[in-house]
Symmetry: C2
Subunit: 216 residues, 2 copies
Amino acid sequence: MEKARLQLALDTYDLPSALAPLQKAAPYLDVIEVGTILCLSEGMRAVKVIRSLFPEKTLLADVRIAEAGGLISKMAFEAGANWVSVVSGATLSTMESVAREAERHSGEVQVELFDGWTAKTARQWRDLGIRQVITHRSRDGEAKAELTWSERDFDDIRRLASMGFNVTVTGGITLRDIPLFAGVPVYIFIVGREICRAEHPDAVAKSFREAIQRLS
Amino acid sequence: MEKARLQLALDTYDLPSALAPLQKAAPYLDVIEVGTILCLSEGMRAVKVIRSLFPEKTLLADVRIAEAGGLISKMAFEAGANWVSVVSGATLSTMESVAREAERHSGEVQVELFDGWTAKTARQWRDLGIRQVITHRSRDGEAKAELTWSERDFDDIRRLASMGFNVTVTGGITLRDIPLFAGVPVYIFIVGREICRAEHPDAVAKSFREAIQRLS
């Protein structure tokens, strides 16, 4: 199994608060995510600034497109994003607009799976050339400690991977969670607050990277 | 039936392009919408600038919350929004976070109806104190001219109104469309490009306002 990647989600209310931990953690990251909150607080300026600082890194603009797919993805790709996100509830026509724009910019599309997606729809996304999906625990769910990673999640990941998707996992992932994913075909682990709020973001990012490398 | 209101959706790629038509059209508007595209391109700065220019107007930040409801709505309300939008696919827990934040800021929540919502869920939103819904034709759908306003749409609006919602309609509404809504309980008409791209945004906004006033 290919080694999983580490993605840092930046979900601060302003750009300076995101840049400090990012600058430290960057050497250990495969993907930098400009999170939805940061996109909405600072706009595409956040994507442009981070692209300028880290020209070689893969950059995801987590714009969570629900509609107006062509316009929003064009804006994000032109700001410097390599990948954009779309919510699973978007219509196939929206998915298609985003996939087309991604192709134009040699970018990729991540579909964020919210309740209600079906295997049938997922295959349609695949047919549009969409290669990535994200399964996650919602932040609101987390706050209530309603959800935890379980065999059911792992089965979902295996099923999506067998359909040909690169599967990203997110939602309050801690260092202790990583070994739970042994043998599960994860493409990317997204970590946010655990790194961003650490006293030493570089040390924590390094530990995550090492834990991921140890997975077999 | 109470007269419907006129809302201008600002969905430009940058703030200056939005301000020119807004400045002209403002006297005829009840609600100013900082659209999803403008929120993502300029961030909450767009909301702050427009709040500063028009302190008395009702302001919607069309942030289309899918998750992290508390954080995103707090950010939008603190920037000066009176209303925020949530997609219908968001979990009830997310809706609850947004409704709670709205109450704290004496704000309101609009749920944007995408495919898959049910009357049962809508009643749950209502129980959380959410009073507004938006029915729309998707921009991607419009581009393909797949959809038009029909009796089925009008029945949906009537059904939602009878459940106690204030119902907003959006999606490429033209001046000629307005009379079609006679007798339909519309709370707000959202108009975007028709006004923003007009040579005289003030004259067009005035015409929309008059057409709405003529509805019985």
